[in-house]
């Protein structure tokens, strides 16, 4: 019979003005995969930071019992010494160092400060084999994809003789295939006796690998479910505190004339000039229509959208863009915005927000003339606009003067959306609009999309989550390797149909 490896009792953690955790309990058994789910801002990450000592003992109340001992970790070093390793959502790798250097960073095989590179690389090779990554230990991190970087992080954890592995949304930025590989790896670790705590938003993943699920809401433990009780509906109900009968808002599409038409759009790679990334794409979007672009990671969807939006990606861009039947010039972002095109980025922290400024200033940034006269900003008008959009998109914050860097992912996304709504575009391109945000906030984003379509905007949604595309769009383009390989009405589409289009497209390409 398995014994309890970790017991967190009555953990309470307060930040100035906020109670992030109140009396949270978590009990993990040896050798299981224990999922922790909850909305963004529910307190999952805070709980893991308490466990790993990022918040040192004494800054929280409650006790942590690990392998029978009460622990008072003063920093991650203490917890790592006991074999507790956390892999954060944002990977902590040094891009310009090699895999081997990263894995043994701060922990090098060395005598008297002189590094034994051979020993490091041999050990790295062994570790990479364990996680199923076939790369030279000397390869620089910057030269491998995010999926592989995640594996390097796990290899790094293994090098520390991990007994309890904590993964904070490990598949958030991975493709379907990489995610599957990662989950398989977790199951393999389980066979080897490594216990894992998996924080995830993706309920299908939890269904697949988790032995138990603990649900946290508003800083409290709601319940812990055993394998046999795990169901998506049950989890969602507990997470949001109400049952979500329908995960997608219903809408009556009212589709009009063609608004945006893109003809024979081609783009080359910005650095590898001979590589064609987008190979002659034709698409169109109508008034009041929500069009999805499906595809795997690396299909070129983001590259396509960004090249369209003021040549923000790529070079040697050719092709034609027509707005309401007339050709338009979208050679710079400001021109694209002037013509009423908006692009909501997939990476809101890097490309979407000024994190060190507050909500109000972020919302008006793309349309400052809208709150100013003769280039002088009308403070009151700006405040009114910000409060208006805060209410419209339901941004949860104490006021519009809160720094966007302190908001949860869902609320950050709403700020980015507000920014572009205020720019009043005709065509709105949403790139992974619900990535890394929780179920409740997703529903709110879908509602906003539906409302915009009803107002007559033409909307393009790029998403890797097929159920989402099937749920909210009217028509779906399938993209693969820089080409459109399929087009279908959402009512006829299914996940299988989309996958088949991709696979067939792959056959064609090779």
């Amino acid at each position: 019979m398995a014994s309890t490896i970790l017991e967190m009792r009555d953990i309470t953690k307060t930040f100035p003005g906020v109670k992030a955790l109140s009396n949270v309990n978590l009990s993990v058994e040896e050798g299981e995969i224990h999922a922790v789910v909850g909305e963004n801002g529910a307190g999952k990450s805070t709980l893991m930071k308490v466990l790993s000592g990022v918040y040192p003992a004494g800054t929280y109340d409650g006790e942590i019992v690990y392998r029978g001992d009460e622990c008072h970790f003063k920093g991650i070093h203490d917890s790592e010494r006991r074999g507790i390793v956390i892999i954060h959502q944002e990977l902590a790798l040094v891009p310009m160092l090699s895999i081997a250097e990263n894995i043994f960073l701060g922990n090098e095989h060395a005598s008297y400060g002189i590094i034994d590179w051979n020993a490091n690389e041999t050990r790295t090779s062994a570790l990479l084999k364990k996680v199923g990554l076939r790369e030279d230990p000397k390869t620089l991190i910057t030269n491998i994809g995010v999926g592989k970087q995640q594996l390097v992080e796990i290899a790094k954890a293994l090098s520390k003789e991990v007994q309890l592995l904590i993964l904070d949304e490990p598949t958030a930025s991975l493709s379907e295939k990489d995610s599957q590989a990662l989950l398989d790896l977790l199951l393999e670790f389980k066979r080897q006796g490594i216990t894992s705590i998996l924080i995830s938003h993706k309920l299908n993943e939890i269904n697949r690998v988790a032995d138990k699920v603990t649900i946290i809401r508003d800083g409290r433990t709601i319940e812990t479910l055993a394998k046999k009780d795990i169901s998506e509906d049950r989890i969602i109900t507990s997470m949001v505190g109400r049952s979500l009968d329908d995960r997608y808002p219903s809408r009556e599409p009212d589709i009009g004339e063609v608004v945006l038409q893109v003809k024979n759009w081609s783009v080359y790679h910005p650095i590898h000039a001979e590589r064609q990334v987008i190979k002659g794409i034709d698409i169109d979007v109508r008034k009041g229509e929500v069009v999805g672009i499906a595809g795997l990671m690396g299909a070129g969807r983001t590259e396509f959208a960004m090249s369209l939006f003021g040549r923000s990606y790529g070079r040697h861009i050719t092709g034609e863009v027509l707005l309401n039947g007339k050709p338009i010039d979208v050679s710079s972002v400001s021109k694209a915005v002037e013509h009423g095109i908006a692009y909501v980025t997939e990476d809101r922290k890097t490309y979407g927000l000024n994190l060190i400024d507050h909500i109000k200033h972020n919302i008006t940034l793309a349309n400052l003339p809208g709150v100013s006269r003769h280039s002088v900003i009308d403070d009151m008008r700006e405040l009114a606009v910000a409060n208006d959009y805060k209410a419209k998109t339901n941004i949860r914050s104490s006021s519009v003067y809160q720094m966007t860097g302190n908001l949860s992912g869902g609320n950050q996304q709403k700020v980015v959306l507000s920014k572009w709504l205020f720019a009043n575009p005709e065509v709105l391109i949403l790139d992974e609009p619900t990535r890394g945000i929780d179920v409740g906030a997703k529903y709110e984003i879908y509602t906003i999309i539906a409302r915009l379509a009803a107002e007559g905007k033409a909307i393009i949604v790029i998403s890797s989550e097929m159920p989402e595309l099937l749920g909210i769009t009217d028509r779906i383009y399938v993209m693969n390797e820089g080409r459109i390989v399929g087009e279908m009405a959402a009512s006829d589409a299914s996940q299988e149909k989309i996958m088949r289009a991709i696979v067939r497209g792959e056959g064609k390409a090779s």
Binding site: S312, L365, S375, V376, M380, S399
Partner: protein, 430 residues
């Protein structure tokens, strides 16, 4: 400082009308940085007033203080924008030296006829400064060469040209009186002076009552007008908030703040009035400070600079032309460096090869003491100005005290370090 007619601090204002006292506290806390800095300046002033046995606030010394430090503050205005946009400019001291030399050559040596008129020369010099800024900014903005490197090169280049222009180690002068007025002149008293209390002299020739103090009335009038304008705009901003249904800071806090600032401003104005009136350079500086406060707080271009410094990629994807904006920031810096160079030359009455040497470090220090972040996106004009004055008062006070120049540097270094540590500590606590 009466020109700081910035809007009422906006942060820490909640929408709930019921929370009066709490807002007062939170407004105080969120503006602690700003208030703390001004309090630090006052504390330093009081300290030196005491240690110099009252010399610091003597009218003649106040005039000196302004004349000696105005070029630092003028350049700090440009540097603030450079640092907020995420860059640095190491060349400002050399550019100032070069422009001073250029101005002197044009006015004294080269036979330019009508073009050697001080006003014409000054305008040409400002244009040349802008061109230098554009030349450096071009590489930084459009070719993404790090500003540290471009301006380090500029620092060497323009110091070299400055020295070459002056023919090695010699100085060029004397400069025309009309030009020197930029630094050492005072505004004319168009209203006429007023003798405060005519002295009553007794039979023995001793004064019984009355100081016989003569006041520069134009200065007094300007001071009063500026203070009234400050109060008026503050009140108007409050009204506007209330009219739109938003809670402004509590009235009592507003009154106290306005009164304290006004009293301080009037005191300084009075001190100047008892001497020769407002220095011209103080007026120039005041106008520029007001302009830059307005540009950074109220104008779209200011907002865009902050956004670019906070996240350049996000700003670019929001339709902001970040390259052009960077270029403009450096052109602005070039013009202000040139103005700084003219002020230095006018104060010295001649161009010397070492003019402005090392002043880039004082300028940068002023901006960082004023709370700007080296990462970009954060910093206030008033902060940089107060930072500049803190440096200036320390220079002036320690000189009067007779502190050795070597040790003055040590103290300034410690103050810079202390200010930034205080800032970082404050941020982590919040």
């Amino acid at each position: 400082m009466s020109t700081e007619s910035g809007p009422v601090p906006k942060s820490g204002v909640a929408e709930d009308v019921q929370q009066g006292p709490r807002i007062a506290v939170s407004a105080l806390v969120t503006n602690l940085r700003e208030y703390g800095l001004i309090l630090a300046l006052i504390a330093i002033m009081v300290f030196f007033q005491y240690t110099t046995s009252g010399t610091l606030f003597k009218p003649v010394n106040l005039s000196n203080l302004v004349q000696q430090n105005s070029f630092i503050i003028v350049m700090a205005l440009g540097m603030l924008l450079v640092i907020v946009s995420g860059h640095i400019d190491l060349s400002v001291g050399s550019v100032a030296g070069f422009i001073g030399a250029l101005a002197a050559m044009m006015m004294v040596i080269w036979p330019l006829g009508p073009f050697s008129n001080p006003l014409v020369v000054s305008i040409i010099c400002l244009v040349v400064g802008g061109a230098i800024g554009a030349a450096q900014g071009y590489w930084i903005a459009y070719h993404r060469i790090p500003s540290f490197i471009v301006t380090l090169a500029g620092m060497l280049i323009f110091r070299g040209i400055c020295q070459a222009l002056l023919g090695g180690g010699s100085s060029v002068g004397p400069l025309p009186v009309g030009f020197k007025a930029l630094s050492s002149g005072f505004i004319p008293d168009v209203i006429g002076s007023l003798t405060l209390i005519p002295p009553v002299v007794n039979a023995a020739g001793k004064t019984i009552v009355g100081s016989g103090l003569t006041l520069h009335m134009t200065t007094i009038v300007i001071g009063i007008v500026a203070v009234l304008a400050y109060a008026y705009f503050g009140l108007r901003a409050r009204r506007s908030r209330e009219r739109h249904g938003y809670q402004a800071e509590p009235f009592s806090l507003f009154v106290v703040k306005t009164l304290v600032t006004s009293a301080l401003a009037l005191f300084l104005v009075y001190q100047f009035a008892t001497y020769r009136g407002l220095p011209i350079v103080l007026v120039v500086m005041g106008v520029l400070i007001a302009l830059f406060v307005f540009v950074t707080k109220r104008m779209t271009v200011g907002r865009r600079i902050y956004a670019m410094g906070g996240n350049a990629k996000a700003a670019q994807l929001s339709g902001i032309k970040t390259e052009r904006l960077t270029l403009m920031v450096f052109i602005n810096m070039g013009v202000l460096s040139a103005l700084g160079g003219l002020i230095i030359a006018a104060r010295l009455g001649q161009a010397v090869p070492a003019a402005g040497l090392g002043s880039e470090l004082d300028v940068i220090a002023a901006v960082f003491i004023g709370g700007a972040s080296a990462m970009g996106g954060v910093g206030q004009v008033i902060g940089a100005v107060v930072g500049g004055f803190i440096m200036g008062v320390m220079n002036n006070g320690m000189s009067i005290m007779g502190v050795n120049v070597d040790w003055q540097q040590v103290v300034k270094g410690l103050v810079l370090l202390g200010a930034v540590i205080f800032d970082v500590y404050n941020k982590n606590k919040a």
